[in-house]
């Protein structure tokens, strides 16, 4: 039995649909269900739904053999796992953003304050470009509020269409990293359940090839 951790939300549904196309999964995961564990007896698979930032934790401990999670989360949490594939879904980017029209002010400001769900990534990025002084405040959600309430000068957050930023009067100051969902695997599981896992990874790879042929990367 292989356990796969998926991040609650849209990515879980997208991944489940993709798995179905690959012939991996044969059960229905209703979107409005409160269930957290789904068992596919036919394919000997167990799917668990967890918070995105917890996917790497379950996989690192081996409670889940594999997981699908965004590269943003993997970058933030320094976990000991294999990052074996780019699933190609969940495409977005990590960006530095702030109040619309205030980019110049932001650049000129000393002692910047940045609010973010990704304090490690933020600190490392700004250290690399040698900022004078940076304070990072960790938030868990609705990060767009921070600059609007004066809690921070800017934010580092995931951006997809940019609509959330726009609707809250913010804009992207700088694009930091491209993000997509990755397939991660527990180190022990890869060695101890090699055949089962290789089979799953093989099917996903073939699915990605087919998908790549039908709809080339945007």
């Amino acid at each position: 039995m292989i356990t796969i951790a998926l991040p609650k939300g849209r990515l879980a549904q997208e991944t489940a649909d993709f798995f179905e196309k690959c012939g991996l999964l044969n059960i229905k995961m209703e979107e409005d269900s409160r269930k957290l564990i789904f068992i596919d007896e036919v394919n000997n698979l167990r799917i668990i739904l967890v918070k995105p930032f917890d996917v790497p934790t379950y996989v690192e401990y081996g409670a889940a053999d594999m997981g699908v999670v965004g590269k943003d989360v993997i970058m933030e949490k320094n976990v000991n796992i294999f990052e074996i594939l780019d699933m190609g879904i969940g495409r977005c980017f990590l960006a530095l953003a702030g109040v619309k029209g205030k980019k110049e002010d932001f650049i000129r400001k000393k002692d910047k304050v940045i609010a973010t769900k990704y304090p490690e990534v933020t600190r490392e990025y700004f250290e690399k470009i040698n900022h004078q002084s940076l304070k990072v405040i960790r938030l868990n959600g609705s990060v767009e509020l921070a600059p609007l309430l004066g809690l921070a000068d800017g934010i580092v957050d995931v951006v997809e269409t940019g609509r959330t930023l726009k609707e809250n009067g913010l804009e992207v100051y700088e694009k930091l990293f491209d993000i997509s969902a990755r397939l991660i695997i527990n180190r022990a599981s890869l060695k101890m359940k090699k055949d089962l896992i290789n089979d799953i990874v093989g099917r996903i790879e073939r699915g990605l090839e087919i998908e790549g042929a039908i709809c080339p990367k945007s």
């Binding site: 401990y61 409670a63 000991n80 990052e83 780019d86 180190r187 022990a188 890869l190 101890m192 090699k194």
Partner: protein, 381 residues
């Protein structure tokens, strides 16, 4: 430090005792002798990778001491001293606590027990590698595990390939981490920026797939184009085939993409995984460069296993009190001398009591046999 410290009561503490006995016998039958280095080390002597992760103590003279994060450094120093006295075939084993300041990954402990062996010889011989890996397998078998694997790699396989392509140290290090993580796309992105041919990028990505059983050795031949890589692959094949012929095939596997601490290891590296645990229970390899540092003609291979992790999955060693001995005031002397005639695990009561109380207390401990001494008489209750 966290407010919670780990204390060991039975049965955990008994498990540790049993492990100590078992490894003493196992390693002892190959000539390994126990060593007990000081728990302290000089901060300056540590490898960089261990400096940040050590507990530091400032001595009265201002010198910074650290608590050991592992045993190899201290045992190497002890070996060097023995070597001074003229011996160049040294076999140590150890059992004791190590201390790590930071616990950021799954399975990390701040204070835990390590067991391990160091095989230190006057020459670099693959047979020593074989002996040490076989002992790693035997260790896990002794501890009662049946489903596990000792996964082996060879650092020179990768080093030879990167040398061919002329990567600088920093790039090698980054590439190394990406391959160790099997980060297929990370490798593609990193090398893509460096104007490297697609076929080469593909080669490096394929190295991440070089894991499994014996078939890996055949597949790897295609990537070993220079002498270093070729030789390392031959050596690894020799070791693998020998272990297979000894009946260990079920317990070993290969991963040429395993590249942890390759600046420390100089040849074979291996990691042990047990069923049901998401992180390794043992790791080791050949580390000849350590003695180079001491300017000595010594070559070393060894491993360490973490008992706390093993304890997470180990069955109990089935220890409970089997016999209870109680007595009245006059019966004390005879009761005391009686213990030497019994082989089972005994609880000897420390004060005189009534027989009914002996029975009550024996029940609490789960001891089935109760001996009661009244004056000169023995009663079996």
């Amino acid at each position: 430090m966290g407010k919670k410290f780990t204390d060991y009561c039975p049965p955990g503490s008994i498990f540790l005792e049993r492990v100590r006995e078992k490894i003493g016998k196992l390693y002892g039958s190959f000539g390994y002798e126990p060593v007990e280095p000081s728990v302290f080390l000089d901060y300056e002597d540590l490898y960089f990778k261990d400096k940040n992760n050590s507990f530091k103590v400032v001595d009265y003279d201002g010198r910074v001491l650290t608590l050991r994060t592992e045993y190899t450094l201290s045992t190497a120093e002890m070996a060097a001293r023995i070597n001074d006295e003229g011996r160049d075939f040294i076999k140590f084993y150890y059992f004791g606590k190590v201390f790590r300041y930071i616990t950021e990954n799954a399975g990390d402990y701040r204070e835990f027990h390590q067991i391990g062996i160091e095989n230190i010889m006057g020459k670099d011989d693959p047979f020593a590698d074989i002996e040490v890996i076989a002992l790693a397998v035997e260790t896990l078998l002794e501890l009662g595990f049946k489903n596990f694997t000792v996964d082996m790699g060879e650092v020179n396989f990768f080093k030879g390939i990167t040398f061919d392509y002329g990567f600088d140290e920093e790039s090698s290090e980054i590439l190394c981490k990406l391959i160790d993580k099997k980060d297929y796309i990370g490798i593609e992105n990193f090398l893509g920026d460096k104007n490297i041919k697609n076929s080469v990028i593909d080669d490096f990505r394929k190295i991440t797939r070089l894991y499994g059983k014996g078939e890996v050795l055949k597949k790897a031949k295609g990537y070993a184009k220079n002498e270093t890589s070729k030789k390392s692959l031959e050596r690894l094949s020799f070791i693998y085939e020998k272990l297979k012929s000894m009946g260990y095939e079920k317990y070993i596997s290969l991963d040429l993409g395993m590249l942890k601490h390759i600046d420390y290891y100089t040849g074979i590296i291996f990691t042990g995984y047990i069923e049901g645990l998401g992180y390794p229970v043992l790791s080791g390899g050949r580390y000849d460069s350590l003695f180079l540092k001491y300017n000595r003609n010594l070559y070393a291979v060894g491993f360490a296993a973490g008992l706390e992790r093993i304890l997470e999955k180990a069955g109990s060693f089935g220890e409970g009190f089997k016999v209870y001995i109680g007595y009245d005031e006059e019966g004390f002397k005879k009761a005391f001398n009686f213990t030497r005639y019994i082989n089972d695990k005994i609880y000897f009561q420390s004060f005189p009591e009534k027989p009914e109380d002996s029975i009550k207390r024996a029940k609490k401990l789960g001891a089935e046999k109760v001996y009661y001494f009244r004056g000169d008489e023995i009663f079996f209750l």
